[in-house]
């Protein structure tokens, strides 16, 4: 692979009118500066600023990350919310999951004429997703089949202690 050859600047003298900025460079070409004189360092200050800034930015981002982490972990540095507060949605999710499992149980019963022995059967039948039985995280739903009905209870976590969420859904076809 051959490099494309460009003519050297010296071989291309350009004559430009005086009012264009390029003339300054051409004049330098026509009247070369003393080689021993120190070269101008235009833009060097900006380079220094830029690199210092980049370095400090990286430090700042790392610092912010560490700060957020220790805050979340409720260390002595700063305060973090109580564990129960993080689960504001949980009671709603549990309500919805109980309705969802209940619906799946009814569809299963409609097709198979009996309720499943365990909730895992609903997952094996494809009615529910595997994650449904543990959603929201670490929730466990207690299910008990009896006669022609079932009892389905939601988890009782510290965040799930309000009256409306002490769910025990009982369904009995004989009633």
């Amino acid at each position: 692979m051959s490099r494309k050859k460009y003519p050297t600047p010296i071989s291309v003298p350009i004559e430009m009118p005086d009012d264009l900025p390029i003339v300054r460079d051409n004049s330098e070409l026509l009247f070369p500066q003393d080689a021993t004189a120190p070269k101008s360092s235009k833009g060097v200050g900006a380079v220094v600023v830029h690199h210092v800034v980049t370095f400090l930015q990286i430090l700042m981002v790392l610092g912010l990350g560490a700060w957020s982490y220790v805050t979340y972990k409720n260390t002595e540095l700063f305060e973090a919310p109580e564990p129960g507060q993080r689960n504001a949605l949980e009671p709603y999710l549990v309500d919805a999951q109980i309705q969802r499992i209940d619906q799946a149980l009814r569809v299963y019963e409609a097709l198979n004429e009996k309720f499943p022995v365990t909730l895992d059967v609903l997952v094996e039948a494809g009615l529910l997703e595997p994650s449904d039985l543990g959603y929201p995280a670490s929730s466990v739903y207690r299910y008990q089949r009896f006669g022609e009905g079932f009892k389905l209870e939601g988890p009782r976590t510290p965040a799930n202690t309000s009256a409306s969420h002490e769910d025990a859904l009982i369904f009995d076809e004989q009633q």
């Binding site: 600047p9 350009i14 235009k42 210092v52 969802r100 569809v107 409609a110 097709l111 409306s164």
Partner: protein, 661 residues
């Protein structure tokens, strides 16, 4: 970098065609339906024997439904779709007042999905849709089934999917969880993309701001001192407030000074979202708390079924809140659907003797008119129904009942006019009721539940404990000293600052990043460079380099070329780790935001398609409405752009005189 795909592979025309087909599919594909016209002609037939006797209650019992269901299952085992059994199930269910037989419809849908014979499957899906006309899932499943097995049925699956989305939008049990899903995921995606924007803007603009501040400060301040000063400005408020968020927002404000207008728009969007967080928090709580709420119980009672336990529950709630007309209406509707003369009389008495809210008025008048008809009083019914008709402009029910009233009064012209009006308002609903040939209150007369939007208003009005979904996470980020209620103020301040900062930009006094080396392009050099978009060193090297000293030019090209490669490499690398960041770094912020939002939202939809509150009837699949597919599509499109950005690089925008490109 612009997304450049050769014309023949262009996504845009393809998307536009799909969209056009999707939007216009229903009217384009509309055909004459001979069976429907026959039904309408029959309903309109002059000289039919007039039955003026009261409309009786249903003669169907629950056991009939079980018999039909068992029969259907046994027929299905023999390899037939069992459409007659499903039709009997639908009609008997309707006769009992079961508006949506959700469980049965989902059961039929589950079996239909397994059908190898496409014609059978298609018919079973239609039957499932009739069993639960307000449930969107049979429509979506129908569309997916046809898509998998019969690509030639393209119009049909497009129509089914389109109808599915319409129904999903109307059905609260689907609409609210979906709205919550898109709200939370959308906010997360915007905030995630905004964070990558902030990081990129810091790298791109912080040095520029520091350079300009160094120009502005009195002599004696070194460049490093200026940077330290600026960092102190960013960090000190956050440290004092113990708030990482305050640091980030101050940083956003600082870098916004040098932003172009497209970057400024993204900053404005970020502050707008932060300002709206309290509002979003309340909306999210309203949406999340719908599940298991009294409003949802009313929807179930009006649109699914209301058995003895439900009636008892309604009665108890009515006793507890005697002024709640929505509960009373639901109770009266359940009473009407039972079909007893005593119940009809109670409906008329309650409707006549009480004041009703404006949004309920027409519905209770229709219910009273239908009750009069059930009692064999068409003249009295007409008075109620004419009043109801005026207030229910979009509902077929009062006009349809009016038709029945005129038929019972032997008024052919009146019945014909009422039927025309009813079909004008809702042809599907009228056609559905005309197929019910039985003469009982639920098949012969229309008594719809309240409009589904009413339940949202009811839910909002129901007192309950407000739970903040955002607050715990807000505290982690903003610290305990900056409450969520201050978010609106913070957002407003930031929004105003960024907007007013645009004035500085308009005066073109700020430096801009050089598109080649990324360092400050000083506007004072405009006279020298002719307002070229490059900074002075780059201009001298790459534009007027021919006039430079040879050694100086070689040196400059090496140094500046290294910076160019560093900038380009950084954009490519950041594009891989955080899609969109490379675009932000190149000054293409709207593209960067779109890519970032699309990527994060796509990932969330792809991995959590069921959303946050999982709807009860979204069984058998996690890709309802193509949520997961949409997520993967978004991720895929983003990945294509990212690959393009990595391979071809992302060109930096060129800012010339006056801060214009």
């Amino acid at each position: 970098m612009y997304l450049h795909i050769p014309g023949r592979f262009s996504v845009l025309p393809f998307m536009v065609t799909l969209l056009a087909l999707f939007v216009f599919s229903t009217p384009v594909l509309a055909q004459r339906d001979s069976s429907l016209e026959k039904l309408l002609d029959n309903a309109n037939a002059e000289g039919k024997a007039v039955d003026t006797s009261p409309v009786p209650k249903s003669t169907v019992a629950d056991v009939n439904l079980q018999v039909h269901w068992q029969l259907w299952k046994s027929v299905l085992q023999k390899g037939k779709p069992g459409l007659d059994e499903l039709k009997a199930l639908e009609h008997d269910g309707r006769s009992l007042g079961r508006v949506n037989q959700t469980t049965k419809a989902l059961g039929v849908m589950a079996m239909a999905l397994q059908q190898k014979d496409v014609a059978h499957g298609h018919e079973m899906f239609l039957a499932a849709q009739r069993l639960a006309p307000d449930l969107p899932y049979p429509y979506f499943a129908h569309a997916r089934y046809l898509m998998d097995r019969d690509l030639a049925a393209f119009p049909r699956w497009i129509t089914a999917a389109s109808k599915g989305y319409q129904v999903a939008w109307s059905w609260p049990n689907t609409r609210f969880p979906w709205a919550l899903k898109f709200l939370i995921f959308g906010i997360l995606a915007i905030l995630g993309a905004a964070f990558s924007f902030l990081i990129a803007q810091t790298v791109r603009q912080f040095g520029i701001v520091a350079y300009d501040l160094a120009r502005l400060l009195p002599r004696g301040f070194s460049s490093n001192q200026t940077v330290v000063l600026l960092l102190a400005v960013v960090l000190v408020p956050g440290v004092l407030l113990k708030s990482p968020l305050a640091v980030l927002l101050t940083l956003a404000l600082v870098v916004s000074v040098a932003q172009r207008w497209n970057e400024r728009l993204v900053s404005l969007a970020l502050f707008a979202v932060i300002g709206c967080l309290p509002l979003i928090d309340k909306l999210a709580d309203d949406l999340a708390s719908y599940s298991g709420s009294p409003a949802q119980a009313l929807v179930a009672a009006q649109y699914v079924t209301c058995d003895a336990g439900c009636v008892e529950d309604l009665h108890a709630r009515q006793q507890a809140a005697p002024e709640d007309r929505y509960i009373l209406f639901t109770e009266l509707l359940a009473e009407f659907r039972k079909g007893d003369a005593k119940g009809h009389k109670r409906v008329i008495e309650e409707v006549s003797s009480r004041d009703w809210p404006a949004d309920l008025q027409s519905y209770v008048e229709n219910l009273a008119g239908a009750s009069e008809l059930a009692l064999g009083e068409p003249k009295k019914a007409i008075l109620w129904l004419q009043k109801a008709e005026a207030g229910m402009a979009m509902e077929a029910a009062p006009a349809f009942n009016l038709m029945r009233a005129h038929q019972m009064s032997d008024d052919f012209d009146g019945a014909s006019a009422a039927l025309t009006k009813a079909t004008d308002r809702n042809l599907d609903q009228v056609a559905q009721y005309l197929t019910y040939e039985r003469r009982d209150v639920n098949s012969f007369l229309m008594a719809p539940g309240l409009p589904l939007s009413t339940f949202w208003d009811y839910h909002l009005a129901t007192p309950r404990d407000q739970r903040s979904i955002i607050l715990p996470y807000w505290k982690v980020l903003a610290g305990t000293d900056v409450g969520l209620e201050k978010a609106t103020m913070l957002g407003a301040i930031g929004f105003g600052f960024v907007l007013l900062g645009g004035l500085v930009r308009l005066r073109a006094k700020m430096s801009t990043p050089c598109p080649r080396c990324g360092l400050a392009r000083d506007p004072r050099d405009d006279k020298t460079t002719g307002a070229h978009h490059l900074c002075l060193p780059c201009y001298r090297t790459f534009v007027t380099g021919a006039g430079m000293d040879y050694q100086a030019r070689v040196y400059n090209e090496r140094v500046l070329g290294g910076r160019l490669r560093f900038q380009s490499g950084l954009r490519r690398i950041l594009s891989v780790f955080a899609p969109g960041t490379g675009h932000h770094l190149a000054g293409r912020s709207l593209s960067g935001l779109s890519i970032g939002v699309s990527f994060i939202l796509g990932l969330l939809l792809a991995f959590f398609p069921l959303g946050i509150v999982r709807p009860a009837s979204e069984l058998l699949s996690n890709n309802w409405g193509g949520t997961s597919s949409l997520g993967w599509l978004m991720v895929s499109v983003t990945c294509v752009i990212v690959v393009g950005a990595v391979v071809r690089g992302v060109d930096s925008v060129q800012v010339g005189q006056g801060g214009r490109r």
